[in-house]
């Protein structure tokens, strides 16, 4: 399922616009969303998961227009979202948490337990199903979050900084899980880690100043960064190179 953004604009009351005539299409597979702080990534994701209302421009989930109440209502059942910061109820088990999330997403009660088992299998957490969520590590909690967003089998999965705060081993595990999910659905990953994009994403969008200023494959992005910095996108010089990339894509407007 495709996400289509057409001339989308959004500004918080009394402030200048955060998103400005943003046009973009997210195709099935894993797509990365890169951008500096304040570029509007969180606002774009909030509009996409209907936390904020679409007032100017269009945002379509498949054919469902998010500027209408009916469109929002239908689109919500097709969406899964893992925010950057989320919490789990410590008194619930992992399986109950995921089953509860499936129900909150609209699944019938009698299907939730099976859906939770499937989702936990998908993120390789089946063995922890009966554990309380308060006993999990950071990486396991992140995978529970993904399972919770996945249990109702959404067509579009939105992940906000899914590897932030994880150690390298946990990060690798989460990346494997997300990469697998992109084979059957549209996954949009907002991240500031170029390694995440490199390992996960078939396509990348770079958001600068409220617009998508770059959209292409990771090799194309890599080439742009190398061209900008004269070095590899990995390593200590990356942040400087990334800043120059932002300046450069900004200059292409």
């Amino acid at each position: 399922m495709r996400v289509t953004v057409e001339e989308l604009a959004f500004g918080y009351r009394g402030r200048k616009k955060v998103l400005n005539n943003l046009t973009w299409t997210v195709e099935p597979g894993v797509t990365g969303l890169l951008g500096p702080n304040g570029a509007g990534k969180t606002t774009l994701l909030s509009l996409l998961v209907t936390l904020l209302p679409v007032r100017e421009g269009r945002l379509l989930i498949g054919e469902h227009d998010l500027s209408t109440m009916a469109g929002r209502s239908r689109a919500r059942r097709l969406l899964g979202f893992v925010p950057q910061h989320f919490s789990l109820a410590g008194e619930l088990t992992v399986a109950d948490t995921v089953a509860y999330a499936a129900w909150a997403h609209g699944l019938a009660r009698d299907r939730c337990a099976r859906a939770a088992r499937w989702a936990l299998e998908s993120v390789d957490l089946s063995e922890f199903a009966d554990q309380r969520t308060s006993t999990l590590s950071g990486g396991q909690r992140q995978r529970v979050g993904i399972a919770a967003a996945l249990a109702h089998d959404p067509r579009i999965l939105v992940l906000d900084e899914p590897t932030a705060g994880l150690d390298p081993g946990q990060r690798l595990r989460v990346r494997e899980v997300v990469a697998g999910l992109g084979e059957e659905r549209t996954v949009l990953v907002s991240t500031h880690l170029i390694e995440d994009v490199a390992h996960l994403c078939s396509r990348v969008g770079v958001l600068v100043g409220g617009r998508i200023e770059f959209h292409g494959t990771f090799p194309e992005l890599e080439a742009l960064i190398e061209d900008t910095s004269g070095g590899s996108p990995y390593g200590s010089g990356f942040e400087r190179a990334y800043d120059r990339l932002i300046e450069r894509v900004g200059g292409h407007r």
Partner: protein
């Protein structure tokens, strides 16, 4: 064990709440209700009017527990940071809070109603009068509305602080009728226990039912607005809040009468020693003990104008004036109510009817016989002693071995009373004048 809990959690009666979050408050409410009503099972003179009032009165602590539980559920399980409580999720706006409210309210209210079953059975078997459905519905609707208020606290405060806030608020609301009558219209129970011959006023009953229905609806609406994405309070919703606040004002401008005389049911009467005894037909079983306990007191006093013409069950009263004019009409009104003890109350009220009030002595109601007692306190002690002696005549072995009338002969006292009746009425008799006192 955890899979058992998971199976329970997945079952319709609990879903989607953790069973412990529901079972703990429900069991507490059941225990509180049983503890609150258990002693009533053996009460005399049970009736449906009293039971109808008890449905609200006994809810006072259970509703506090239920409110705390609802606040806990909302505070723990509707925080927008939770993976299963994000405002955009399809069920969060309406179905999830309604389901939460249904499960927690259902269990708590169910436990409360189960706790009332023994009392219901006892009243069904032995009780008289008619049930008051409006009063019961008003109390139960109030129960639901206050539980929803707790849930709203949890949704708004979104932390464990919501629990004490909700508990405190509801405890105050349920206690307000004890402070002032106008608050009774906004609470679950009357500030006193009604009984046969009376009924909760119709205006109060319907007002309370309507107010709690309005409150429950407004709270439900507010909860869905707070959980909705994007969160918004419409002008219509603001109007609804104003309507609820406005609806709470009328009782303060015009206090509803709390009770009315029901004037239903006939009377059952008997006569002994020239005194007519009448009780409500629902209190027929109480007539014999009333006569057995009152007649000896009147006999001990002896023939006199002071003896009432009639001892009458308060459940037969039709107006306040009728009761207040009882002294002038020679009618001794006796409150026969659920849980009353005729063996204590009848001798006391019969003797109190015959003996002047201690306040006529000017001793501020104090009756003393020690060395430092004032003269008026000593004279008051004569009246108090006489009243206690008369009350003791109600019992076969009512020998009065203590005080001023210890060892006094019945005939001797009766003669003495008639000789000194006028002086007793103005509290002029000194203890030293008592013939049997040394």
């Amino acid at each position: 064990m955890s899979s058992l809990w998971s199976r329970m959690a997945a079952s319709a009666p609990f879903w989607p709440l953790p069973p412990l979050m529901v079972l703990l408050p429900a069991c507490s409410i059941l225990a509180l209700t049983l503890a609150g009503t258990w002693s009533q099972l053996s009460w005399r003179a049970l009736d449906w009017v009293h039971f109808s009032g008890q449905v609200g009165a006994q809810a006072r602590l259970p509703v506090v527990v239920a409110t705390g539980a609802a606040a806990l559920v909302a505070a723990r399980l509707t925080r927008p940071s939770l993976v299963f409580a994000q405002p955009w999720q399809p069920r969060l706006e309406r179905e999830l809070p309604l389901r939460h409210a249904l499960v927690i309210t259902g269990w708590c209210l169910g436990a409360y109603l189960v706790g009332l079953i023994p009392l219901t059975v006892a009243v069904t078997v032995r009780g008289a009068g008619m049930v008051n459905p409006v009063a019961i519905l008003g109390s139960l609707t109030g129960f639901v509305a206050l539980v929803l208020l707790g849930y709203l606290c949890g949704v708004i405060v979104r932390g464990l602080l919501a629990v004490p806030v909700a508990i405190g608020s509801v405890f105050v609301i349920t206690s307000l009728p004890l402070v002032a009558d106008p608050w009774t219209a906004l609470a679950l129970q009357l500030p006193f226990a009604p009984s046969l011959g009376m009924r909760e006023s119709t205006a109060l009953g319907f007002y309370r039912l309507g107010f709690f229905l309005l409150l429950a609806t407004a709270i439900t609406w507010t909860v869905t607005c707070f959980l909705r994405a994007p969160r918004r309070l419409s002008p219509l919703h603001s109007m609804a809040i104003i309507v609820v606040v406005a609806a709470a004002i009328p009782p303060h401008l015009h206090t509803f009468p709390l009770m009315a005389y029901s004037q239903d049911g006939g009377e059952v009467c008997a006569e002994r020693g020239g005194v007519r005894y009448c009780v409500h037909e629902g209190h027929t079983d109480e007539l014999a003990p009333i006569i057995e306990l009152a007649a000896p007191v009147f006999t001990a006093y002896g023939p006199s104008d002071a003896i009432p013409d009639e001892v009458r069950d308060h459940s037969l009263a039709t107006t306040d004036e009728e009761v207040l004019g009882g002294i002038d009409d020679g009618v001794l009104w006796v409150r026969v109510h659920p849980g009353w003890d005729p063996y204590q109350q009848i001798p006391e009220v019969a003797a109190a009817w015959l003996v002047p009030d201690l306040f006529v002595c000017g001793s501020e109601g104090v009756a003393l016989m020690d060395d430092e007692a004032e003269p008026e306190e000593r004279r008051a002690a004569v009246l108090a002693g006489l009243q206690a002696w008369l009350a003791s005549r109600a019992f076969e072995n009512g020998d009065h071995e203590d005080g001023l009338f210890a060892g006094a002969d019945l005939d001797e006292v009766r003669t003495w009373i008639h000789r000194n009746e006028d002086r007793l009425a103005v509290c002029e008799v000194e203890p030293e004048e008592l013939p049997w006192w040394s």
